[in-house]
């Protein structure tokens, strides 16, 4: 059989594919950009390229449900090219970008522009989220059918949740007409009251305006009720409280059509990390208490929260060079998504398979896409990483254009050595 250009074998890696219940040292064969087979080499298969993955983990390419790539409109912070390249370096093969760009992703033209730029860069599959309301104004529904046709995988009002419950209801109903997932960042704007930190003992002492936990739990309860009324499929993005996680557990027991994710930094940091007013710890929703972090960890371990995302918010240095409340919230998270998730395994919060699941089949199932698994016939999106490599976070080690990370100096487990997108090597560590 003639060697085909895209035929690849990844030899002798520990293949961890939670979506198919696989965790074994074996070979993986890719052909024509798709998964061909696992284990024994198929008859007449002669790969053009062999990757030695001895002592490495081979898993599905990671799927990050929520990132802000800043383009169009804020290219001084980051670009689609810079951030998709960063994603590839970190084993992430699918990014779902938020619509709060300039202009907002509320027309097929903007969707087309973004997808074109991502294809041109060629590092990553980019799935845009469309705006739930025009220009995210919270008043007028966007043309969701057109957005879906143009390639949006979900609709959301992202960081400006709707205050008007009637518009929220109508938006959910309209989205469900087209089987569009509605992504909600649960936050009651009035209860947030221009806060910048969790309302609790640390904010009390530092004199930081607080955001109560109720700002999240009220919104979760409200939107669960609206989802019940409308039949919409909803997904809560970036839960931050144990209480919301418990509500999710209840909703799942009740059989509700709802899912949730958590930003990885919420599983490691707490309000105590705001001591010293480090603006790199300024995030929305805010870092909450130890018990919230533990509650979120439990929910992730028990698959009540099915996905971990980076909630990637790259910023230029100036955006963080002010007193904390005056800075823009957000962490540049792509570079630390996988290592911080692996840290949860080190800390025995969950096993490796569960951790990988939250980054692969978990988010794929939320999106309802045939991704995140090494199933024959699926796109050959692969992440290969060395679990034994430790590294320290520094500006040089952050490949995103945004260097705004609170994890500087932290020791991280795991280094991605290869990333394949549709069977094509989009990243290979230069040292190999």
């Amino acid at each position: 059989m003639k060697k085909k250009k895209k035929d690849i074998t990844i030899r002798n890696g520990r293949v961890v594919d939670p979506g198919n219940g696989i965790d074994e040292v074996t070979d993986l064969h890719l052909s024509a950009g798709k998964i061909l087979a696992l284990g024994q080499t198929p008859e007449n298969f002669q790969p053009l390229l062999e990757i030695d993955a001895t002592d490495q983990i081979v898993c599905p390419g990671l799927i990050d449900l929520t990132v802000n790539l800043r383009e169009p409109g804020n290219e001084h912070k980051a670009t689609i090219a810079s951030e998709t390249a960063c994603a590839a370096r970190n084993g992430i093969t699918t990014l779902c970008c938020t619509p709060d760009t300039l202009p907002v992703i509320d027309t097929p033209a903007v969707v087309g522009q973004i997808r074109h730029k991502a294809r041109k860069a060629g590092y990553c599959r980019l799935l845009p989220q469309g705006a739930l309301t025009k220009n995210l104004d919270g008043t007028h529904l966007s043309e969701m059918a057109a957005l879906k046709a143009a390639g949006c995988i979900a609709v959301t009002n992202c960081y400006t949740p709707l205050a008007n419950t009637l518009v929220q209801r109508r938006a959910m109903e309209y989205a469900s007409t087209f089987n569009l997932l509605t992504i909600i960042r649960p936050e009651d704007q009035y209860l947030c009251n221009n806060g910048c930190a969790h309302e609790g003992k640390v904010a009390d002492r530092l004199g930081l305006p607080g955001i109560p936990e109720a700002a999240e739990t009220v919104a979760v309860a409200r939107d669960l009720a609206l989802a019940e009324t409308t039949g919409a499929v909803i997904h809560f993005h970036a839960l931050s409280s144990a209480s919301a996680a418990r509500t999710m557990a209840w909703a799942k027991r009740e059989g509700r059509k709802v899912s949730a994710d958590v930003a990885i930094h919420q599983l490691h940091l707490t309000e105590l990390d705001l001591e010293g007013f480090d603006s790199n710890r300024h995030v929305r929703p805010p870092l909450r208490t130890d018990s919230d972090r533990d509650g979120l960890r439990k929910a992730v371990a028990e698959n009540v929260i099915q996905a971990i995302c980076s909630d990637h918010q790259p910023h230029e240095a100036d955006a963080k060079s002010s007193p904390l409340p005056d800075t823009e919230p957000g962490i540049s998270g792509l570079d630390t998504l996988l290592p911080l998730t692996l840290k949860l395994v080190e800390q025995e919060v969950m096993d490796l398979s569960s951790a990988i699941a939250r980054l692969t089949c978990g988010p794929a199932d939320i999106l309802g896409l045939p991704l995140g698994r090494l199933t024959p016939g699926y796109a050959a999106d692969i992440c290969i990483y060395d679990p034994n490599r430790q590294w320290h976070v520094s500006a040089e080690q952050i490949h995103s254009a945004g260097k705004n990370t609170p994890f500087t100096g932290w020791e991280m487990p795991g280094r991605v050595t290869h990333t394949l997108l549709k069977g094509r090597l989009v990243f290979r560590e230069e040292t190999l």
């Binding site: 609790g200 009390d204 002492r205 001591e275 002010s322």
Partner: protein, 329 residues
């Protein structure tokens, strides 16, 4: 990486590098400030109201937020130490033209300023400036957002010590808008560090932090209960704009529940003193008879403010001088 308050404010020899918050400072430092201020109280009464401790030094008052009383006392304090003083009303100049705080700081450093005295509407602003200032520049927090107003707290401690002698055994009630008050936060820290028996806060729930007890206070909603048998009553200014924010229904109801009257004052210890950081809203926070009465020490607070600020400025400049000398050796 953020520094702890102690690491940011004190050098290895436990000398004061900056004065940003009471948090992280121990009793010995606070006592040193009070003792140093004692030595400066006489300066204001001399014919020539100056000492040469900071001669040749340049102190910049960076007031990003309006203030008359605090800025004036800082200016007087620096001048009595023989420093040159720059008064910069930043809100009306650079930042209104779009300059960032960091740029403003760099420009002033280029003028070889030795100390920044900072007031800013944002919590953490003084920390931010201290973290970014040149190593040879001291920073004093003259009030940042809701966070801290440590020199006000220290002048209040000075006033209390002058009238009561000791802190141990005292009961102190702080009354009013604790939630938004940087003064109250610093007072609570200072009182607890100096060893008072009990700090009480008295306010409706809407004017209290969510977890007020975690600050180390006893919470009272009933003023009569909260004031009973206390040695010191600190009334806070009620910003009238708060009444429009669904925090309080009216001035009338606030005064009826939390206004200090002679009747209420009688519930405190007979030798109790009444304090207020000013300016007072008469008829809202307290009755004029109380404000002008024999137990009021409000005007003394103002004059003690100069001595306290002289103490703190001289200690910070002194540390900077010593470090310069040590580096030269």
């Amino acid at each position: 990486m953020s520094l702890s308050n102690k690491a940011l404010q004190l050098d290895d020899e436990q000398r004061l590098l900056h004065f940003l918050t009471i948090d992280g400072l121990d009793r010995s430092i606070l006592t040193e400030i009070l003792d140093t201020a004692e030595g400066f109280t006489g300066v204001s009464e001399r014919t020539i109201k100056k000492v040469p401790l900071c001669r040749g030094k340049v102190v910049a008052n960076l007031f990003f937020e309006n203030s008359t009383r605090t800025r004036t006392t800082f200016e007087l304090a620096a001048k009595r130490l023989s420093a040159d003083v720059l008064n910069l009303n930043i809100s009306a100049s650079a930042t209104s033209k779009g300059e960032t705080l960091l740029d403003t700081l760099r420009n002033l450093e280029a003028m070889h300023v030795d100390m920044f005295i900072v007031r800013h509407a944002t919590s953490g602003a003084a920390h931010f400036i201290a973290q970014h200032a040149d190593p040879g520049v001291g920073v004093i927090n003259a009030g940042d957002g809701r966070h801290a107003h440590p020199t006000q707290a220290m002048l209040d401690m000075f006033t209390i010590r002058r009238h009561k002698g000791e802190f141990v055994g005292l009961r102190v009630a702080i009354v009013g808008d604790i939630l938004h008050s940087r003064v109250a936060r610093s007072q609570i820290l200072a009182l607890n560090t100096l060893g008072v028996s009990e700090v009480r806060v008295v306010a409706p729930q809407t004017l209290l932090p969510s977890d007020a007890r975690s600050l180390g206070v006893h919470v009272y909603h009933d003023f009569d209960e909260g004031i009973r048998d206390v040695d010191v009553i600190i009334m806070l200014r009620l910003q009238k704009e708060r009444m429009r924010g669904a925090l309080l229904p009216s001035e009338h109801e606030y005064f009826s529940l939390y206004g200090l009257t002679e009747r209420r004052l009688a519930l405190a210890k007979p030798d109790a003193i009444v304090m207020h950081p000013g300016p007072i809203n008469r008829g809202v926070e307290m009755d004029s008879k109380v404000a002008d009465g024999s137990k009021s020490v409000i005007l003394q607070q103002v004059s003690y403010g100069i001595a306290i600020r002289m103490a703190i400025i001289s200690m910070v400049i002194g540390t900077q001088n010593l470090r310069t000398q040590e580096a030269a050796v």
